[in-house]
Symmetry: C2
Subunit: 321 residues, 2 copies
Amino acid sequence: MNELWMEYPEIGNMLEEVNALILRSTNDADEFITEAVSSAVVSSGKMLRPAFVVLSAKFGDYDKESLLRLAAVTEMLHIATLVHDDIIDEAKLRRGIESVQSRYGKDSAVFIGDYLFAKCFTLLSEKQHNKSMEKLANAILKICRGELKQYRLRYMYDVNIMNYLKIITGKTAALFSMSFHIGAAEGNLSDRQIKTLSRIGYYCGMAFQIIDDCLDYSDKKTIKKSTMNDLKQGYLTLPVIYALGKDKDNKLKHLLETTDFNKTDMETIHDLIMSYDGLTQARQLAKKYTAKAFKLIETLPASDNRNTLEDIVKKMLHRKY
Amino acid sequence: MNELWMEYPEIGNMLEEVNALILRSTNDADEFITEAVSSAVVSSGKMLRPAFVVLSAKFGDYDKESLLRLAAVTEMLHIATLVHDDIIDEAKLRRGIESVQSRYGKDSAVFIGDYLFAKCFTLLSEKQHNKSMEKLANAILKICRGELKQYRLRYMYDVNIMNYLKIITGKTAALFSMSFHIGAAEGNLSDRQIKTLSRIGYYCGMAFQIIDDCLDYSDKKTIKKSTMNDLKQGYLTLPVIYALGKDKDNKLKHLLETTDFNKTDMETIHDLIMSYDGLTQARQLAKKYTAKAFKLIETLPASDNRNTLEDIVKKMLHRKY
């Protein structure tokens, strides 16, 4: 069990059941898939998305078996997107262990991801989860649209904030929001409550991703190679985009446009982002989304479950940034 | 309209409507996707799979709008699998025009395929096609299992026929069978008739793929570079597998194992396949599947529609092989 859930054993235990269900559901396949899924499950992180499904349902009444299935599908969808992401990033590692694409090759990774997508839908269709299925498919559409937009906007140094927000909506907020939504629907909550929880998921997702993007620039000394590579490949995140907005003499823009900058250049880039307040502004926007999430959480009926949700979101969003 | 359908304008017109629906359904997305789908639609081949959906439904009563949607989904699923296939094969062309992966890059191709998969499910969930959705998801599972099995069995020169048959079930027969099945179900046919049509699809698919694999070896002089590359990458098809079964002195096996054979070696490989009757045996198996398909078609109620189905299957399977 991930340490995040030690304090909340009820949720932690359900997440262990979710993992067991994922393993059971995927053991009908080629050993490739079974192995790949097992290693993903073993190295599973905080399992935030299935936890959101569970926490949302617990505001109402739910059927446990059905809920576990929805939570498992949410995590499987997340794993599938990671498997496909790693193909593109050529990532060697995922959560500290060798990535599927590195271990089994890109060819297999394409179909392992596809298999997991399809498996999500079979699990839902067996139980007539028609509405959840629509939500799931819509989340995948948003994820793909976001990824494609991100790819298309590479090297566009006059990218506007709106495009960045659309990209991270797909990248993170769509799946967060879906997790809250299908959990709330399974808990038989009112349409209004479902909408509220879904918004909480959206705001959490936006804040989470912006914080993630800020962490890349939090310290000049520990700047990661992957951050530099992303920049070289023309992928811009919020601190950079804000900084470019103040880059009247195109100093930062020209540096980025060389795309073969070295470590010293990267330090100059970092300094420019700082002097243009790129990081500060990005952090401010993250805070706005965080505040919106908490404000909505407060409107939910007071309960132990609400306290748990609040705690988890706090821990998730109050990372060092 | 593809020339195959000129003689059957009713089906041909419905297929044109299917294409229009695919274009309408995918114009909500990034221009990447819209363009990629348009070019796939423009270069669409015979559209056998959506035609099977339509032909099967016409044995009963159907709702036209609903049927067109199912047919469109079937073709979109097919396009999605082609887009992902081309990533792996690094194919430059697809149906004579530049492939999605070549034109937009592998990165985009992964997400364009995912987008199309997801779109299939949203189109079905809007109309509560729950059963069709299950069939669709199951077909994707079979396709992925087949592809992964094929990949895992590369370079295994003692591959048995059963594994080859499982691979082509996923590669071709699963989607053929699904097309017949969901069309028949939409036509409100009896369970027995649905099963019969589904079997026809399966047999057609098996025959179709074996014939395709035979065509690669039909003439020594016109042997394609892609056939040689497949062999070098350890992908074995039925004529080769049958030949290996008679390769007592491992002559063929050793040649294949070198994996860097030149054009002259390839001619020797071809001669060995011929002398071991690999092609003849493969053709015989294709004939068996073809006969099974026609036998079942004859059990369907006599009608113009049955005649059309019979004609189409004949044209499809009586290719030069």
